[in-house]
C-alpha cells in the first residue's frame, strides 16, 4: 500500500484527507469519530468572537438527481454556535488524545485588527497546527461584514491575512470564496499578506430550489428563504478550475493549496492534487454518507498509486498543471473523430439524436434488413466534439480516435484564418 502521508504549509499529515470546516467538525464528538474513521485531519468549524451566533431552524436545501442522489447541498448555517471556550477546550483534548492527527482552527471576525489578532492568538494557544481564515461564507455572516464580504475585496484579504500572520507563529491558510470574478486577485492578495496556503473553494452563492406549493426558496424558514452556500459534487468543476489557475500562474504558483469542492471519490481527490492541491478537504460526501467514506478515499488512492508506480503523493501532486493551457495555446491542427463500435452498441439512438438535433448531423441511423439499427459516424461532418462519446450509456462503445496528420502544431494566433494573426517570423 502506497504511502499517503503528505505535507502542506509545513504541516505533516497522515494522509491528504481532511474534513473541511463545517458541521462535521463542529465538536469533539464528531472529530474523534472522524479520526477513528481514518481522516488525517480536520479544520474545526469556524470560531468567532463570543457571544456565539444563533442559527435558524431548517438549514439545508438539496439538488437531487432523479434517483434522489444528492448532487449538491446548499446551507444557510452560520459559524459555530457554541461558546469559544468550549470549542477551544475540546480542541485541546483532541490534540492530546490524537497527537498524530492535524487540527486546523478556522476563524472569522469583523474587519478589525484587534478582533482578528486576539481570536487568532486564543485559537493558536489551544494547540492547533494552523489557522484557516474563513473569508468565504456567502450567507448570513457576510451581511455582518464578515465571510465573503471580506473575501470579495482583495485588499481586505491581504490585510486580514497579514494581521493573523503577525499575531501567530503557526501556518495560516487563507480560505477563498469562489463568488468573485477572478480567483487570482484573491490568491495574490493572500500571498502578499503572507499566507502559507490558500484553501479553496468555499461554497458557491446559490438558491437551490423553490418549493412550488408555497413559492418559497429552499431551505424554508417560516415562509421565507435566503441564498446559501452551494457545495457537493456539482461544484467540483468550478473548484478544479480555480485550483488550477492558482497553481499554473507564475505569481501564485508557490502558494500551497488545500483543495476543496465536491470531492466525493478518491479520483476526485487525485484530480484536485494533480491540478495543484497539496492536500484536500472534504465535507459534503461525509455529510451524505458518514465519515466511513474516507476508507474508499484512502484505499482507492493507494491502489491507484500502486498501479501507477507512485510511492508518494508528491510524485503526482501538480502533475497535470503543465498540461493546463490557455485556449490560444491549443493545436488547431489536431483532429479527432468519433468511432462507434457496433459490437457494443445497444441501439438506443441517443448519439444520433444528440448529434442530429444539437451538433453536426454526423451520425447516420441506418435500418438494416433484419430491422436492427446501425449508427455510423460520417467522418466528413464529425468535428470531434465528444458529445456522442459522453452521452453514450455504454462505456467504450464510442471512442474518440485522433486523425493522423502531417500538419504542424498550430495555435490560433498563428492560424491563417485569424485576422489578428501574428507574423510567422
Amino acid at each position: 500500500m502506497a504511502d499517503l502521508s503528505c505535507k502542506i504549509a509545513g504541516i505533516d499529515s497522515l494522509n491528504p484527507f481532511w474534513l473541511a470546516s463545517a458541521p462535521p467538525t463542529d465538536k469533539k464528538y464528531n472529530v474523534v469519530r472522524a479520526f477513528q474513521a481514518g481522516w488525517g485531519g480536520v479544520v474545526w468549524k469556524t470560531l468567532g468572537i463570543d457571544p456565539p451566533v444563533v442559527n435558524v431552524s431548517s438549514r439545508y436545501g438539496a439538488h437531487h438527481d432523479q434517483n434522489r442522489r444528492l448532487l449538491g447541498i446548499n446551507n444557510i448555517e452560520l459559524i459555530s454556535d457554541r461558546p469559544l471556550s468550549v470549542n477551544l477546550q475540546e480542541i485541546r483534548e483532541c490534540r492530546k488524545e490524537y497527537p498524530d492527527h492535524v487540527i486546523i482552527g478556522s476563524m472569522m471576525a469583523p474587519i478589525e485588527e484587534r478582533a482578528w489578532k486576539d481570536l487568532a492568538q486564543q485559537i493558536a494557544e489551544s494547540g492547533v497546527h494552523g489557522i484557516e481564515l474563513n473569508l468565504g461564507c456567502p450567507h448570513g455572516m457576510c451581511e455582518r461584514g464578515m465571510g465573503s464580504a471580506i473575501g470579495q475585496v482583495p485588499e481586505m484579504v491581504e490585510q486580514v491575512t497579514r494581521w493573523v500572520k503577525d499575531a501567530v507563529d503557526i501556518p495560516v491558510f487563507t480560505k477563498l470564496t469562489p463568488n468573485i470574478t477572478n480567483i487570482l486577485w484573491s490568491a495574490e492578495a493572500a500571498l502578499k499578506g503572507g499566507a502559507d496556503a490558500v484553501s479553496l473553494i468555499n461554497t458557491v452563492n446559490s438558491i437551490i430550489s423553490v418549493d412550488l406549493d408555497s413559492m418559497v426558496p429552499e431551505p424554508m424558514v417560516d415562509g421565507k428563504g435566503t441564498h446559501g452556500g452551494y457545495c457537493g459534487s456539482a461544484v467540483k468543476p468550478i473548484a478544479l478550475n480555480m485550483v488550477a489557475e492558482i497553481a499554473r500562474t507564475p505569481e501564485t504558483r508557490d502558494l500551497h493549496i488545500s483543495g476543496i469542492g465536491g470531492i466525493t471519490t478518491w479520483k476526485d481527490a487525485v484530480e484536485f492534487m494533480a491540478l495543484g492541491s497539496n492536500a484536500v478537504q472534504v465535507c459534503t460526501a461525509a455529510m451524505i454518507y458518514g465519515f466511513r467514506v474516507v476508507d474508499d478515499l484512502i484505499d482507492g488512492m493507494s491502489q491507484w498509486m500502486d498501479d501507477k508506480g507512485y510511492t508518494s503523493v508528491e510524485q503526482f501532486t501538480r502533475a497535470a498543471v503543465p498540461q493546463v493551457a490557455n485556449w490560444n495555446e491549443l493545436n488547431m491542427n489536431f483532429d479527432t473523430k468519433a468511432v462507434i463500435n457496433p459490437d457494443n452498441c445497444i441501439e438506443c439512438g441517443r448519439c444520433h439524436i444528440a448529434c442530429e438535433d444539437t451538433s453536426h448531423q454526423a451520425i447516420a441511423m441506418n435500418v438494416k434488413e433484419d430491422g436492427h439499427r446501425e449508427f455510423v459516424v460520417i467522418d466528413e461532418e464529425c468535428v470531434g466534439c465528444n458529445l456522442c462519446y459522453h452521452i453514450c450509456p455504454v462505456p467504450d462503445c464510442i471512442t474518440m480516435e485522433p486523425v493522423k496528420t502531417d500538419k504542424p502544431y498550430m495555435t490560433w494566433p498563428e492560424h491563417p484564418l485569424n485576422p489578428m494573426r501574428q507574423a510567422a517570423e
Binding site: Q66, N67, I346, C348, R373
Partner: protein, 454 residues
C-alpha cells in the same frame, strides 16, 4: 428460464408458490399478479430507461405508445402527463399494462436487455402512470371531443376493439352507440383475462373512465343476429364497426364432449371472473386443461389457485410450439401445474360421471404431427378445453370471411361498404387486447375519413 425470476420473484413475491389454497382463502390466490409500484419503485425503475430515440420498444408496441416519453414524465414527477401520453395512443393502457405479454412485446425490445439482460419494466411503469391519473376522480376526462359532426356510428361489441373505436370516434366528434350482448362492458377484459391480472374490478373502472369522453351510449343485452342485424345498423347509422371477437370455441371432436365436467376454458374463466368471493367458484379435484395458449395457462393456474389437487395441462406439441409465452409457461409450473407435451386427447373416460381422459403420445414425422400409438390415461373430474376460438360466422352475413376471420382492407373496412371491423374477429396481428385497441383506434380514424368523403 430466468425471465420469471427477474420479473416475478424479485419484484412482487406475489406468487404463492405451488401451495394448495384452501377453499376458505382462495381470494388470496387471486390478488395482483404484479402488485402496483410504489412511487419510490416507479422513480427508480423510470430512471433505468435510457430515453432511446426512435425506440425499439415503441416499434414493438402494437399501439405505438411513446414509451420513452411517458417514462421520462414519470421520472420528472409528472405521472398524470405520462398517463395522457399512454392513453392518447392506447385508451386501454391500464388493461394492457396488466395483461400484455410485455415479455414478447415492448420489454423484449428494450435495449437494456442487451446491456444488462434486464429490461425496464415498462408494463409496471405504465400501470403506475395510468392508475395515478385514474385515481384522481376530481380531474376531467383527459381528452376533449372535436366539434360535433352529427354523424352516428354503431359499434357492435363493447370489448377492447369496440370501446377503443367508440372512444376515438367520440374524440373525433361523432356520436356512438355500442351494442353489447352481455350484461357488462369490457369484453375479454371483463370476462376473459385471468382474475389475478385484473383485480379490483379494473375492467369496469376502465370502461367508466373511457366513457368520460362523452358521446358514447352502450345498449346491453343486444346480440348480433338475435336483437340486432348488420343490415339494420347500416341503414340506421352513418357507419358501423364490428368488434365481436370470436364468439365460438373449437371442439375436440370426441364422444362425450357434452358430458358434465367437460367445459370450455373460456367459459370457466368467465364464470370465475364473475364469481365473488372466488371461493364460491366450483372446481374439480383433478383438472385437465387441453391447449397450449395463454387461455390454457390462465385456466390451469386459476384452477390450481381455486384449490384443485392436480392440474395437468396437456399440449399436443412441444414447449417451443406453445402460443403461451415462455413467461406464462413458467408461471404455470411455479403455480404447481403439471405440463405434459407431445400428447393428444383420444377419449373421454366416464363411468356415470367423468373419470378421466385418454391420451396418445405424439411426435413430428416429416413435419407432420402424428400419434405414436402409445397411450396413457390421466384421471380427471374436470376437463377444460382451450383449443382455440372461432368466429360466429352466421351473424356476419354480407361480408367476406376467410381463414376464420372477417376480411378487411387497409382501412379496416369489410367487403360490405360502410361496415368496418377490428379486434380478434379480423386478422391483424396476435389476438391480444393491445392489438384490438389498436384496431379500434385505427378503424375509428378510417371511419372518420370515410365519413368526410361519404
Amino acid at each position: 428460464m430466468t425471465i420469471l425470476q427477474g420479473k416475478q420473484v424479485s419484484k412482487s413475491g406475489a406468487i404463492q408458490g405451488s401451495g394448495h389454497i384452501g377453499h376458505n382463502d382462495t381470494d388470496d390466490g387471486f390478488s395482483d399478479l404484479h402488485p402496483a409500484y410504489s412511487t419510490l419503485q416507479a422513480m427508480a425503475e423510470s430512471n433505468r430507461c435510457l430515453y432511446c430515440y426512435d425506440a425499439p420498444c415503441v416499434t414493438a408496441c402494437p399501439t405505438s405508445i411513446d414509451i420513452p416519453g411517458f417514462i421520462r414524465k414519470i421520472s420528472t414527477g409528472n405521472p398524470d402527463g405520462a398517463a395522457k401520453t399512454i392513453l392518447s395512443a392506447n385508451i386501454m393502457g391500464g388493461t394492457c399494462a396488466r395483461a400484455c405479454p410485455t415479455e414478447v412485446l415492448c420489454e423484449q425490445a428494450c435495449v437494456r436487455n442487451v446491456s444488462e439482460d434486464v429490461a425496464v419494466e415498462i408494463g409496471s411503469l405504465q400501470r403506475f402512470a395510468v392508475d395515478h391519473l385514474m385515481a384522481r376522480d376530481e380531474l376531467p376526462h383527459p381528452f376533449k371531443r372535436a366539434p360535433l359532426t352529427g354523424k352516428q356510428i354503431a359499434v357492435v361489441g363493447a370489448g377492447p376493439a369496440g370501446l377503443s373505436c367508440a372512444h376515438r370516434a367520440a374524440m373525433l366528434g361523432h356520436d356512438v352507440t355500442v351494442f353489447e350482448a352481455k350484461a357488462k362492458p369490457g369484453g375479454l377484459n371483463e370476462y376473459g383475462l385471468a382474475a389475478y391480472k385484473m383485480t379490483n374490478d379494473f375492467a369496469q373502472r376502465e370502461v367508466e373512465f373511457l366513457l368520460g369522453i362523452g358521446g358514447i351510449r352502450i345498449e346491453y343485452g343486444k346480440a348480433l343476429g338475435r336483437d340486432i342485424s348488420l343490415e339494420a345498423l347500416r341503414d340506421g347509422y352513418d357507419a358501423v364497426f364490428v368488434g365481436v371477437g370470436l364468439g365460438a370455441t373449437n371442439e375436440l371432436g370426441l364422444p362425450g364432449e357434452a358430458f358434465d365436467g367437460v367445459d370450455d376454458a373460456i367459459a370457466f374463466i368467465e364464470q370465475l371472473r364473475q364469481t365473488e368471493p372466488k371461493s364460491d367458484m366450483p372446481v374439480g379435484n383433478n383438472v385437465i386443461v387441453i391447449g397450449g395458449g395463454n387461455t390454457a395457462v390462465d385456466a390451469a393456474i386459476q384452477a390450481k389457485r381455486l384449490g384443485a389437487d392436480e392440474v395437468t395441462l396437456v399440449y399436443r406439441r412441444g414447449a417451443e410450439h406453445m402460443l403461451a409465452t415462455e413467461y406464462e409457461q413458467e408461471l404455470a409450473k411455479i403455480n404447481g401445474v403439471v405440463v405434459r407435451h407431445w400428447a393428444k386427447p383420444v377419449a373421454i373416460k366416464a363411468n356415470g360421471k367423468l373419470i378421466g381422459m385418454e391420451f396418445e403420445k405424439t411426435e413430428l414425422r416429416d413435419g407432420k404431427l402424428v400419434g405414436t400409438g402409445e397411450k396413457f390415461e390421466i384421471r380427471a373430474d374436470q376437463i377444460l378445453k382451450a383449443i382455440g376460438q372461432k368466429i360466429k360466422a352466421d351473424d356476419l352475413a354480407g361480408m367476406e370471411i376467410a381463414g376464420g376471420k372477417i376480411v378487411v382492407d387497409e382501412n379496416y373496412q369489410t367487403t360490405a361498404s360502410g361496415i368496418f371491423a377490428g379486434g380478434d374477429c379480423i386478422k391483424s396481428g396476435e389476438d391480444l387486447t393491445v392489438q384490438s385497441v389498436e384496431d379500434g383506434k385505427q378503424a375509428a380514424i378510417a371511419i372518420d375519413a370515410f365519413l368526410k368523403t361519404a
